[in-house]
Symmetry: C2
Subunit: 280 residues, 2 copies
């Protein structure tokens, strides 16, 4: 019997546990510090926690998916590796990879397979109650490997990614992941937050069409999670915020100068870039 354990049954972990159903005919176990969430997931049939002892669960797991915040992920893996079965695959699903993958790989037992993953999906809600079995359908599933990452672990996670419905599996490095994610995800959250950090929003309901709604969709976020992700990716993110401010200043200057031709040039460039993105 193949055993999969999901550690942290929040929005992502709960969705992982639901999506894991049927992977290699596995049994799915769950671990969470909130025992009522564990009870609910068992009641829902998402996990089969016949053994109440977490140590036993960890010991019999063939695949352990850790869906905690970044620092908690590193701590959980390193603190509990002594209980893990030789040959087990351990994956994390954090939104930053360099601060997770390297500390784990540096201190992990050599008979364990660690794979840094980032299934790119989410919603503006949190917790097990909002988790979805189809959360990862059509997602981009990123695997951030280093020279130390072992192939058998990567192969299991590629198989798992296909099982949960990933549209694309992207093999990259922690460094490239973190630089790209600083743009595609973190900067978007920074911008959404900054847009809502304006008193006009209070009076906007009757003056808005779709653009305000869409540009600020991700402003409803889990501040515990995102404040950690932002600070762990400081270098890439601050550089992008600086570039964003510089772009805004270029537009501001053209507006202030009434220079429609310059504005049109900037707009044409942005529209063309967005179209290429959509066609990629």
């Amino acid at each position: 019997m193949y055993n999969v354990t999901v550690v942290g049954l929040g929005l992502i972990g709960g969705s992982m546990a639901k999506a894991a159903k049927g992977f290699r005919d596995c049994r799915v176990y769950g671990i969470d510090t909130d025992l009522s969430v564990v009870a609910k997931a068992a009641e829902d049939g998402v996990i089969v926690n016949t053994a109440v002892n977490e140590r036993e669960i960890v010991a019999k797991s063939d695949l352990i998916i850790v869906a905690l915040y970044a620092k908690a992920t590193v701590d959980f893996i390193l603190n509990n590796q002594k209980y893990m079965k030789s040959g087990a695959v351990i994956a994390d699903v954090c939104g930053v990879k360099t601060p997770v993958v390297y500390p784990v790989e540096a201190e992990l037992r050599k008979d364990l397979y660690f794979v840094g993953c980032h299934p790119m999906a989410g919603r503006e809600l949190s917790g097990y109650a909002n988790s979805l079995g189809n959360m990862f359908c059509r997602c981009n599933f990123i695997i951030a490997a280093t020279p130390a990452t072992k192939r058998p672990g990567v192969e299991i996670m590629e198989e798992f990614a296909r099982h949960i419905g990933a549209a694309n599996i992207i093999n990259t490095t922690p460094e490239d992941h973190d630089e790209m994610i600083a743009y595609t995800s973190q900067l978007m959250h920074v911008v959404a937050v900054a847009l809502c950090d304006n008193e006009h929003i209070e009076k906007s309901a009757m003056y808005s069409a779709g653009s305000l709604r869409d540009c600020t969709r991700v402003a409803i976020l889990n501040e515990e999670l995102w404040s950690e992700l932002f600070t762990l990716n400081k270098k890439s993110l601050t550089k992008l915020i600086d570039e964003m401010c510089a772009s805004l200043q270029r537009i501001r200057e053209a507006v202030d100068a009434g220079d429609k031709e310059r504005l049109k040039t900037i707009m044409r460039g942005a529209t063309a870039a967005k179209r290429r993105f959509l066609n990629n």
Copy 2:
């Protein structure tokens, strides 16, 4: 017979002509400098241009909806007012109101009723081919009146707004409209353009979930239209871009300092503001 004429059969004008169907059992006429568009709209049964003479169309119109760019709107109305029927209602649908309403009201014949309107709807496409009869269903329909705006015209436009499906009719002033729209619409377009003004977007397709897509949805825009709207609302828009940069800087400093508590405070404020917006 009540006659409605739409001037400019682009995305908004074409949609207006389609949505006008059935208003006071009217006949809908269309005017456009692109005669093939007029022919297409007539072929579609959207307009009934039995009279080919535009002057005759203007002369018999009870309601003229001008759906041109801002400066062209002012020019059309003032240049052609001499042909208009006494008591006719003329409305514009521009995204800025101060630079349209005041110049028109200052020089319009006193027996005509001008009403500055802004039906808040659109899509990332342009032209008659993309116009939709239900474009204004559930929209916010803003009427920007001044002390000189005459009540009978406003009443007709309120009736028209209800006919085309507006969810809310908002009565305000040109000044308040322009300040609010600088935030709810123009700043969102500025931000979307600035976000796409970054080389990372070229490599982003495989690294993105929904946030990049949503934050940059409106980056595909009509640069002719938006460069005019931006420059005509310079004062409000440049102030908001400055506020946006200041908000981004506050976040940047907290990220750079690794100050998660400060970040969480900023995020909580933004999330709460967004929730209040959604609940308004």
